[in-house]
Structure formats: structure tokens, C-alpha cells
């Protein structure tokens, strides 16, 4: 128990980094994904093509490869980013691509009658999207988005791969230096706790927002 208390500060520091990455990513992906999804549904041909390539490539290759490309590969082009910036960009682009597809499917699942009713009431296309289509879409994609959000939390462990001291990396360092596996179990418990809390939270949110259907 004393040992756990001595390693806890190190692990919590790692957790802090994991959570920072997570929260920043979650805040940034939604504007990106909503805009990209609208572009994919309603944009001009060129935008649609570019967005198709974006979601195809980013969803078709491993996040870790994308992370390596940005962190190790971009300096090749003279672009050097800090580890945290690299991680945020890689995660936002990756999770954003998945979320774009989720939202696109959500938009396309909205009945045509909703557009017609809005038009018949004199609403413009932007008004229709903002007031009628997107609010319904968001509620409809909530379950898929929540499970994506939980996956993303677990994916933050990948930042350990470029040497950042996140929860996973800190635990590993402690295990290799102290040659005791306790740190792993503590990290285990922390991951499990957080993802369980997220699941609870999201389930509650889904229930709250599903009242009207």
C-alpha cells in the first residue's frame, strides 16, 4: 500500500497528460466533423472529393502510422511540431474522420420530409441545417459518438509510443525501474475506472436526449 502511494503521483501525472489530450481532442473534433459532414452531403463536387479522400485515407490507415508520420515524418518537410501538438493534430484528424462519417450517415438518415417541411415554411438551407437537421442528427448519432469517445480515451495510450509520459508510459517506466508490476495494476484500475465512468456518463446522456423519440 505504501508502495502504491509512492508511485501514485507519477501515475497521476501521466493521467493528467492522457486527460489533457483527451479533452482537447474531444473539443476540437466536433466542429471539424460537423463541417466536414455537411461538406460531404451538400458541398460542391471538389469539396466532396477532397473530403472523400480525407475520410478514406484517415479511416483506412492506423492512427499510430498517422501519429508517426506527423511526429517523425513532418520534420522531413521542415515542419517540426512539439510532441503534444503532433498528438493533438493526429488524434483530431483521425477521430474527426470517423466522426465525420458518423455524422454524415446521421444527416443522410434524416427523412426528406424534414427538408421539405422546412422549405415550405420558408426556411433557407443554412437555417434548415442549423435548426432542423443538425439537432436531430446530433441526437441520432449520440450512441455511435459515445462509443467513439470511449474508444478515443483508450487510444490516448498510443501517445506512449512517441515517448510522451502519459499514464501508460509512466506505468511502464515504473515497472521497468522498480521491477514490480504493481504500477501496471494501478494503471489498469485507473483506465478501467475512467472508461467505466465515461460509459455511465454517456449512457445517461443518451437516455436524456432520447426522450423525444
Amino acid at each position: 500500500m505504501d508502495y502504491v502511494l509512492t508511485i501514485l503521483p507519477v501515475l497521476l501525472k501521466g493521467l493528467q497528460l492522457s486527460l489533457t489530450v483527451y479533452v482537447m481532442v474531444m473539443f476540437l473534433i466536433f466542429p471539424l466533423a460537423i463541417l466536414a459532414a455537411i461538406g460531404k452531403v451538400a458541398g460542391p463536387q471538389l469539396i466532396k472529393k477532397i473530403l472523400f479522400l480525407y475520410t478514406w485515407i484517415w479511416r483506412g490507415t492506423p492512427l499510430l502510422l498517422q501519429l508517426f508520420f506527423i511526429y517523425f515524418g513532418l520534420p522531413y518537410f521542415g515542419i517540426k511540431l512539439s510532441p503534444l501538438t503532433s498528438v493533438i493534430i493526429a488524434f483530431v484528424l483521425n477521430v474527426g474522420a470517423y466522426e465525420t462519417e458518423i455524422i454524415r450517415a446521421g444527416i443522410e438518415s434524416i427523412d426528406k420530409g424534414q427538408y421539405e417541411a422546412a422549405k415550405a415554411l420558408g426556411m433557407t438551407y443554412p437555417q434548415t441545417m442549423r435548426r432542423i437537421i443538425i439537432p436531430q442528427t446530433i441526437r441520432r448519432v449520440l450512441p455511435a459518438t459515445c462509443s467513439e469517445a470511449i474508444l478515443t480515451f483508450k487510444d490516448t495510450a498510443l501517445v506512449a509510443a512517441i515517448g510522451m509520459g502519459d499514464l501508460l508510459r509512466s506505468a511502464k517506466e515504473v515497472v521497468t525501474t522498480d521491477f514490480k508490476i504493481t504500477a501496471f495494476f494501478v494503471a489498469f484500475a485507473i483506465y478501467l475506472m475512467i472508461s467505466s465512468i465515461l460509459v455511465q456518463l454517456f449512457t445517461r446522456m443518451e437516455k436524456k436526449y432520447s426522450i423525444y423519440e
Binding site: 421539405e116 417541411a117 415554411l121 420558408g122 432542423i132 423525444y212
Partner: protein, 252 residues
């Protein structure tokens, strides 16, 4: 005063010619029912009026303004974009499948367009909306979401939603076709009330008795053409066209 004038309207869905040169006028205060077999183009006709469908030929005038002209008709659209949009607002539309906004309560459905489109203050919009909901007999359901309403109630909210925009014309696209038989009456009752207020209305319907009772004119469509445009008395008592006779025999 002519509210709607359609001249020689053509409409295609791919290679399917759904409207074959339809011409029609609706005057202020008139109640016109459009009847005919399914697939005859009557819903398309209605949807062309408020431009949910683009016409492929002919001229569409609303309250004296040319809002759409297509093909070699020698007329240009005289309305500005803003005026075209204004004509939408003057035309309320009620759909067969209600198309209520499911994420909004009955009241929110009704105040949405007055606030978003007409930039009305919320308190004013709520006042209007409550009056309209009272008119369709659903003021007590104002905080209910559409999923908790019956079909007939949904359609009455949809009518209140259209009325809240203070339209000059109401278009009804088979307003009772998606309803259980016992719920048809409540919706027809609301439409009848509007008729008594001399609202200009175009109603696509299969309810023959209702059409006969409230209409000033009956239009019979078949295969993309208007076969008859007559008073209800003439239409039902002395149908001139053999197609109408067989249709009425089947319906009644």
C-alpha cells in the same frame, strides 16, 4: 384576384412524364379539391406550386408574380429571390406524412418558422402559436413531443404550424391518407373550420364526401392531365368523362 396561375406546366421524373401541360387558376377565397387515381400527378402538381419540385416547362405565377418559368415560354421570372421566398411564406403546406420536427414540442414546432424566418420576437410567436394550437384543439398538448401524439393530433399540429405563418393559401397534400379511419374526422373538421373562414385552399384528397361538401371546384387528374374542372354538383352528378365515372364508381 388570382392567387395561383399555372400555365402549361410540364414535369418529368427521369423519362416519366408526370405533368403533361397542366393549366390551372386558383382565386382568392376559393377551395379547390384535386382528386384522381394514385400516380395521376396530383401531389406533384401541388408540390410544383411551392417549388418543392422544379417545373420542366411552363409558367408559375403566385399573386401576380412570375416565380418560375421553364422551357420556351417567352416569359422571365419577374420575382426577386427575396420575393420568391416571400411567396413560400404565404403558402402553408400540410404533408401526408406530417413532417413535424421530432426534436421539438408541439409549441416549438409552431413557433419555429415565425421566429427563424419572420424574425418575430419569441413572446409574440408564442402568443400566435397558442392561438393556432387552440384553434386546432390542441393547446393542452403544447409541451408534448410529436412521438407522443396520435396521427390525427400530429396532423393538427402540422396545420397549426402552417397557419402560424399567416399564409394566404393553404396546400394540403393528402392530409388524411396516413391516418387511421377513426382519426380522419378530427383533421377534416379543422380544414372545414378554415373553409368557413374563407381561407384559399388546394386540397389533394381521396375523401370524396368531404371534397363534395366543402369545395368550390373539383379538379380531376388522370395520367398527368386535368380531365375535369367543375363545381362539385356538376362533377359528382353529371361526370362528363368516362374515366371519372369509373373512378367514382370504384371510390363510392
Amino acid at each position: 384576384m388570382t392567387m395561383i396561375r399555372m400555365s402549361n406546366i410540364h414535369k418529368y421524373f427521369g423519362s416519366l412524364h408526370v405533368l403533361k401541360g397542366v393549366s390551372l387558376e386558383v382565386n382568392k377565397g376559393e377551395i379547390v379539391s384535386v382528386i384522381g387515381p394514385s400516380g395521376s400527378g396530383k401531389s406533384t402538381l401541388l408540390r410544383c406550386m411551392n417549388q418543392l419540385e422544379k417545373i420542366d416547362g411552363g409558367i408559375l405565377e403566385i399573386e401576380g408574380l412570375v416565380v418560375e418559368a421553364a422551357g420556351n415560354v417567352g416569359v422571365k421570372v419577374s420575382a426577386s429571390q427575396q420575393q420568391v421566398r416571400d411567396t413560400y411564406r404565404k403558402m402553408g403546406m400540410v404533408f401526408q406524412s406530417f413532417n413535424l420536427f421530432p426534436h421539438m414540442t408541439a409549441l416549438e414546432n409552431v413557433i419555429e418558422a415565425p421566429i427563424t424566418v419572420n424574425k418575430m420576437a419569441k413572446t409574440d410567436a408564442v402568443k400566435i402559436a397558442e392561438r393556432q394550437l387552440a384553434k386546432v384543439g390542441l393547446l393542452d398538448k403544447k409541451d408534448t413531443y410529436p412521438s407522443k401524439l396520435s396521427g390525427g393530433q400530429k396532423q393538427r399540429v402540422a396545420i397549426a404550424r402552417a397557419l402560424a405563418m399567416d399564409p394566404d393559401i393553404m396546400l394540403f397534400d393528402e392530409p388524411t391518407s396516413a391516418l387511421d379511419p377513426e382519426l380522419v374526422g378530427e383533421v377534416l373538421g379543422v380544414i372545414k373550420k378554415l373553409a368557413e373562414e374563407h381561407m384559399t385552399m388546394l386540397i389533394v384528397t381521396h375523401e370524396m364526401g368531404f371534397a363534395r361538401e366543402i369545395s368550390d371546384r373539383i379538379i380531376f387528374m388522370d395520367n398527368g392531365e386535368i380531365l375535369e374542372d367543375a363545381s362539385p354538383k356538376e362533377f359528382f352528378e353529371k361526370p362528363r368523362h368516362p374515366r371519372i365515372k369509373t373512378f367514382l364508381e370504384k371510390m363510392l
